[in-house]
Symmetry: C2
């Protein structure tokens, strides 16, 4: 896809102006701004909507990060489908987040921003859909944290979701919790962090870059890194045997990714969103996981990626089994890929085949 | 083992006082101090010596970190064996390191300390053994970076090494290089780092703690973390759903390990040693890997740990195959363990069985 996919509509929905939005952690937020993007048109029956939920560093502009799923004969056909993307609260891509001004103090929220959960995201998204008079969703789809939202949607709003597709998503394992913790620690180790109340010109770039680099190794499989980088010296001509700062190619790649990330993402959003990722658990707010899963009415497709070690395929498959134990019509499929967790972005063809099958059914 | 194992002798060997020690990276060091420890006694034939090489954060005092291998009927019988441990150059446990005064500047070396390689370690250790009039080694044994030294010994001094046993050691893969890079980056992100010329009272503790925590997850298997920590909240009574700083148990564990490490290890030593670990490659300084491996005369036992993802068992096994292709009498054995790379310390019984078989042969 060389042409960018332009939303039909993109804008903000502001609500909770009179009364705060009550959050599941006990906190409140007032007002709340949700940035959303719509691709294609709502049909007369208002039944052609597919909600696509984004991952950690994604945005409402689904066409920017999943362009391969659009287009003639693709998964999303804009003559037929109406694709809605909504930026999650806490992100830095348009919705209310920790870089906004806290109306109570007149200063940037920073780490006074309330703790967000995946349920707060689905609840706020549902309010936006109410506002848009979209009652039913043909499907909710997402990868990683986007997949957590898709699952949460199916649990929280069973009557609104017809199909739920989540790729590389399940409650984090202890290893996943550890990796997220280390990433937040990296940000806090940066002297510019200042508990999230840094000036716009002095963000904690080194800490955020390191966080991203730690994340990057968890998004890739060891096999892919070996295939791409082996033990080659950095392509810039460095010689790791000459000095401490000269790097191997894999290190040069990670530093490049880390630096690039600091130009497009905010450290305090990173804190808020990874914490919500930690806390994702179908049981949250319900009597038990079983009680939560039994609510689901959607047809569910959980997709694991064979080399994903952040959300191991086993964990995804196991969640689908637990859903079936609760009489959910849940299927499991696996993408064979060396890309690791990143497979949900890096394997659009394999993903498209699976998505199309369920969406067209 | 409740009784501590006390060395028969512990002291320093200082050399390269008149002429500097020439290093393989091109640098020099003058003088050089090696801290060493001897357990048991050298016999009359001087043929009962086992050199035990330590890993990243180990010391010459083998009895402190491998106590289970000593004792009646154990692998090391001090009535029969003479165990020698030597602290590697660059470490902070007695040998010359980056916290020493650089005689050229009168200040702490910091990152002016010359780049070390595993070959520099074996070369300096050989000079100490010359001084001790120990010509032959019944065995050289080590795990992780200690295993790299054992392999390097067998290559560099084929006529001196009868048996070589390396556990969880091979050239690092791209994933391993990435993990080491991130650990050094964590130290450099600490504002106290100052290129290694920090004051004794202001070490880069946060950076070093984070480096250790990143390392810890690479030393453990995901399965072990799940088994131990699951998704339990931190045992101190924290509630991760209440605030951003409240942790899951695995995070509390990592922070504890990180903090503890800063009280016993130095950040600049961490830099020097992990860099040497990166650069370990049997081919280094020889015409090819084949040319290096063909030099080996020792019986070699390479031991992989089934759940090790820092030095995957496959990599260890593959190295043993390449040795055999060079006519080396090299065997491979695997320890079945969920402990990950840490298995070389955490599975002394399984290790002892393998070591004893080769040592007694």
């Amino acid at each position: 896809m060389s042409e960018p996919i332009i939303p039909t509509y993109e804008g903000n929905y502001v609500f909770a102006e009179d009364r705060p939005l009550q959050l599941f952690s006990g906190g409140k937020l007032q007002p709340v701004r949700l940035r959303y993007a719509i691709y294609g048109k709502l049909n007369e029956l208002r039944d052609n909507v597919i909600l696509v939920c984004h991952a950690l560093s994604g945005s409402a502009r689904v066409g920017d990060w999943w362009p391969q799923l659009f287009g003639d004969g693709g998964v999303f056909d804009l003559e037929r489908d109406c694709i809605v993307g909504i930026n999650i609260i806490g992100s830095c891509y348009g919705s209310t987040g920790p870089r906004d001004i806290n109306p109570e103090t007149g200063e940037v929220f920073g780490m006074d921003f309330p703790l967000m959960t995946v349920r707060d995201w689905t609840k706020s998204q549902a309010l936006l859909l109410d506002h848009l008079k979209i009652d039913k969703l043909r499907a909710v789809i997402g990868g990683s944290i986007g997949g957590m939202q898709a699952i949460q949607w199916a649990i929280d709003f069973p009557e609104r979701v017809e199909r739920c597709i989540a790729v590389g998503a399940a409650p984090l394992t202890a290893m996943g919790l550890a990796l997220n913790h280390l990433q937040r620690l990296a940000i806090r180790t940066d002297a510019n962090w200042l508990d999230g109340r840094y000036g716009d010109n002095h963000p904690p770039e080194e800490g955020l870059a390191l966080a991203r680099e730690i994340a990057m190794i968890s998004y890739k499989s060891a096999g892919l890194l070996t295939e791409r980088f082996k033990r080659k010296p950095n392509r810039s001509g460095e010689n790791p045997l000459r000095s401490l700062t000269e790097r191997y190619d894999v290190a040069g790649y990670l530093d490049y990714q880390g630096e690039r990330f600091t130009r497009r993402f905010d450290a305090s959003s990173y804190m808020i969103i990874t914490k919500a990722m930690d806390n994702f658990d179908p049981a949250f707010g319900y009597q038990s996981e079983q009680a939560a899963l039994e609510r689901i009415r959607a047809r569910v497709l959980l997709i694991g990626i064979s080399s994903d070690w952040l959300f191991p395929a086993d964990e995804v498959q196991d969640l689908s089994r637990r859903m079936r134990d609760c009489e959910v019509e849940a299927e499991y499929a696996e993408i064979e890929s060396s890309h690791g967790h990143d497979g949900f972005l890096a394997e659009p063809q394999k993903l498209a085949a699976l998505l199309s099958a369920l969406l067209r059914s």
